[in-house]
């Protein structure tokens, strides 16, 4: 891409008019900085605004160090990396630069770094377009429908008393009625318009604070499965955001995908998740949040497929829990990989129904792009009454070696996504492992068994020029997180949460926990980037990265992350005296 095309595509200074672009093009200078060269010094750094076109730059500012990569901006008088600062080329770098006065004349508020994150981090309050629409709690459905038509909105709030001069207090909101409610609860059931709204409204109403970043609002909608969220500012309802408002921000929004799922379109699910993922990553969203957004989608897909299975086979003869495990259980799975799930039923004796049920769900998930699990951790095989599951878990935990250890590494990260059966008793069995250090030590031994591919002097040990990010980086950190999280008595499944719990429980210093979280986030992000690239080329995404495809900065970051994984293993060795085990 030529320089102007790059500025147009990356929009480092926000949306620019053609005239402004022409102005930038006419004043653009290209600087080449070989690795190690100083790009800017404190006294002159305000003269130019730099855009990293290729390579990486290390910026020192106020005692902090930042690594800037392609499309990031520094220097000048505004933004997170404004002067004074010093900058060095981390690797051979091509930089675009403009006199700061030129950039000031085209740059929009808000500052650069928020523009780069393109919308997903703006406060959700800024998306509120229309004033609030409400009806009194005594209103009828007909009146609510009329208000919605008058205002051209798809939902109304139901209020216990009228708004005060400064707005409607959030405490006065008793419910919400959407056009969907009117369709499914009134019209479809043949009820008349005189039905009071109070009898069909959803209550209580979930709200979102106006300062919440839009991405968090998206996550909240996905989590709650709702399409409307009242926005609250200082205790008053400021208005409503809808999924349509949020979808408009991004064509490949996860919310859009959720809508398609609800409409029953699952055939292209895997492709669309990949596209949504890469849109989020490109928007600069933290990989942890990407994982969370996608895991809500996977759950929604799973529930959708289960609904279809019930439609075919009838409702369940006894209560059950459909449980996902492995990376999906930890909410760390992004691209659809193998199905890892199991089924817990309340009572014995309904084998025929649940075998057919599990087959139907597995088939549905397969159609959406989740291949059946090669190792066979699937509900089609793994289904038992709760009592039997309790004994099975106790048996594995009592002797966590060999095959039992392998089972534990997948099954311990379980999370129920559908069904009404409570798994509290199973949770308590898992929790009890805290008091049996021998079991934890066996699991710790499993963790140190992963060979971190780092040689002496922190050199990368690649095999045929490739490094396995799963076995070499992700798995050791995930396993260590599991051991430490369980040891801290935490019920959290997510590795980031487990590492925090370990720090809270003083099993790990806060700094070490943060370093481990960063290492894992880097590993997940790097793997995801390579997987998305592989998908774009029509290849099957794997866990390996080619060392020579890494930028210099990525290679250095990878070595640091691997070193942290090794340190974490070392900490486990010391904690559980694994040196004595041989």
């Amino acid at each position: 891409m030529d320089p102007v095309g790059f500025v147009r595509a990356t929009r480092p200074f926000g949306q620019l008019s053609e005239r402004e672009l022409a102005h930038l093009a006419a004043t653009l200078e290209v600087v080449y900085a070989p690795r190690g060269a100083r790009v800017a010094e404190a006294s002159t750094s305000q003269r130019y605004v730099y855009l990293v076109r290729k390579g990486a730059v290390r910026v020192h500012k106020d005692g902090m160090v930042a690594h800037l990569e392609e499309a990031e901006v520094f220097g000048g008088r505004e933004g997170a990396f404004a002067a004074p600062l010093e900058a060095w080329a981390e690797e051979d770098s091509l930089l675009y630069r403009w006199p700061a006065t030129v950039v000031d004349s085209v740059r929009r508020v808000p500052p650069v770094e928020e523009q780069v994150r393109s919308g997903v981090l703006v406060p959700v309050g800024e998306l509120v377009r229309r004033p609030l629409v409400w009806v009194p709690v005594e209103a009828t459905c007909r009146q609510a429908a009329e208000r919605m038509v008058e205002e051209g909105v798809s939902s109304v709030l139901v209020a216990a008393h009228p708004p005060e001069p400064d707005g409607l207090p959030v405490g006065a909101v008793v419910g919400i009625v959407t056009d969907r409610d009117l369709r499914t609860k009134v019209v479809a059931r043949g009820l008349g318009g005189e039905v009071p709204v109070a009898s069909i409204m959803s209550s209580p109403v979930h709200t979102v604070d106006a300062d919440t970043p839009t991405l968090s609002a998206v996550l909240r909608m996905l989590e709650l499965g709702v399409h409307h969220l009242p926005v609250v500012r200082e205790g008053r309802v400021a208005g409503m955001v809808t999924d349509t408002d949020l979808i408009r921000l991004q064509a490949h929004s996860p919310l859009f995908l959720l809508k398609r799922l609800e409409a029953g379109e699952i055939g292209r699910y895997a492709d669309e998740v990949a596209r949504a993922t890469s849109a989020l990553l490109e928007a600069g969203v933290d990989v942890v949040h990407v994982c969370r957004a996608v895991s809500y989608l996977h759950d929604a897909l799973c529930r959708r497929v289960i609904r279809d299975a019930h439609a075919r086979l009838g409702s369940e003869p006894t209560a059950y829990a459909w449980v996902v495990c492995g990376s999906e259980g930890r909410e760390e799975q992004v691209l659809p990989t193998d199905q890892d799930n199991f089924l817990v039923v309340a009572e014995d004796g309904h084998g025929d129904y649940f075998r057919a049920f599990a087959e139907a769900v597995a088939e549905g998930l397969g159609a959406a792009g989740f291949p059946p699990c090669a190792g066979g951790y699937m509900a089609t095989r793994w289904q038992m009454p709760l009592r039997a599951w309790l004994q099975t878990f106790q048996g594995w935990l009592a002797d966590p070696q060999g095959e039992n250890l392998l089972h534990l590494q997948v099954f311990l990260d379980f999370r129920a996504v559908a069904g009404s059966l409570s798994l509290e008793s199973l949770e308590r069995v898992v929790e009890s492992v805290r008091t049996t250090p021998v079991s934890l030590a066996h699991m710790a031994r499993g963790c140190v068994g992963f060979a971190v591919p780092l040689g002496p002097f922190r050199t990368l040990r690649s095999r045929h020029g490739r490094v396995d990010l799963k076995a070499g980086l992700v798995a050791p950190v995930v396993c260590a997180g599991r051991v430490l999280g369980l040891a801290a008595g935490s019920r959290v499944r997510n590795t980031f949460g487990r590492l925090d719990a370990a720090a809270d429980g003083r099993l790990l210093s806060r700094e070490d926990a943060d370093a481990a979280k960063e290492a894992l986030a880097f590993g997940l992000r790097l793997r995801l980037q390579f997987q998305l690239r592989a998908l774009a080329r029509g290849e099957r995404p794997g866990n390996e990265v080619a060392v020579d495809e890494l930028s210099g900065w990525e290679a250095r970051r990878l070595r640091e992350s691997l070193w942290i994984a090794g340190q974490l293993q070392e900490a486990l060795r010391r904690r559980y005296h694994l040196y004595l085990w041989g």
């Binding site: 891409m1 030529d2 093009a25 290209v30 080449y32 060269a37 076109r53 690797e91 051979d92 091509l94």
Partner: protein
């Protein structure tokens, strides 16, 4: 800076000279028959590519031109009907060249075409130093081969990728000129060139 005393120029740091990176799109590769249909030039001053001073133009090739090369430059005869005449374009280029050093990628094609155009229009070729980025790449290759037995690609796009420079659209005179300029500064840094003299030794065309 004008080149008045070539000898003093040689010892100065390379950044102190002005370089004009020129790219021509032609109707063919044979310098005797090829006509120029587009030209672009961008200067490197103080070691920095000045995109703001980019000069780019289409060129009306004149009567008798056999149209060719469209698969590369994507220009059609009607698109250059109203373009400036070659002589006008040469006068502009000549002004640039007399300011410093000419840089081209592939002097064996570009130089004869340009020099022939000068002759046809009765203009005298300025005796400016010429640097060919292909020669700089060959110098780099000699060094790389000695160290690691590796080779260095010479084609503009692949050479840029080899040096970690981004991909630009090809066969557009303006972006090829900028691409050549960036390749030039990257090569100068990679080779550790200090003076103009060293630059001409490693990349000069005699």
């Amino acid at each position: 800076m004008r080149i008045v005393a070539a000898r003093t120029l040689l010892r100065v740091p390379w950044q102190e000279a002005v370089y004009w990176c020129v790219d021509l799109e032609t109707t063919g590769l044979d310098p005797r028959s090829a006509r120029i249909v587009a030209a672009a030039a961008v200067p490197v001053r103080d070691g920095v590519v000045r995109c703001g001073q980019l000069y780019k133009t289409r060129v009306r090739p004149g009567r008798g031109a056999v149209w060719g090369g469209a698969e590369a430059h994507h220009l059609l005869p009607q698109e250059v009907e109203d373009a400036p005449r070659l002589e006008e374009v040469l006068r502009r280029l000549d002004g640039f060249l007399r300011e410093g050093v000419l840089v081209v990628h592939g002097s064996q094609v570009e130089l004869p075409v340009l020099q022939r155009a000068y002759r046809v229009h009765g203009m005298s070729w300025p005796r400016v130093p010429v640097v060919d980025t292909v020669r700089l790449l060959q110098s780099l290759e000699r060094r790389v081969r000695w160290l690691t037995a590796g080779s260095v690609p010479l084609e503009l796009g692949r050479a840029r990728a080899y040096l970690g420079l981004p991909a630009y659209p090809r066969h557009d005179a303006a972006s090829d000129a900028v691409a050549t300029a960036e390749l030039f500064v990257a090569l100068v840094e990679r080779l550790g060139v200090r003076t103009v003299e060293e630059l001409l030794r490693w990349g000069g065309v005699r």
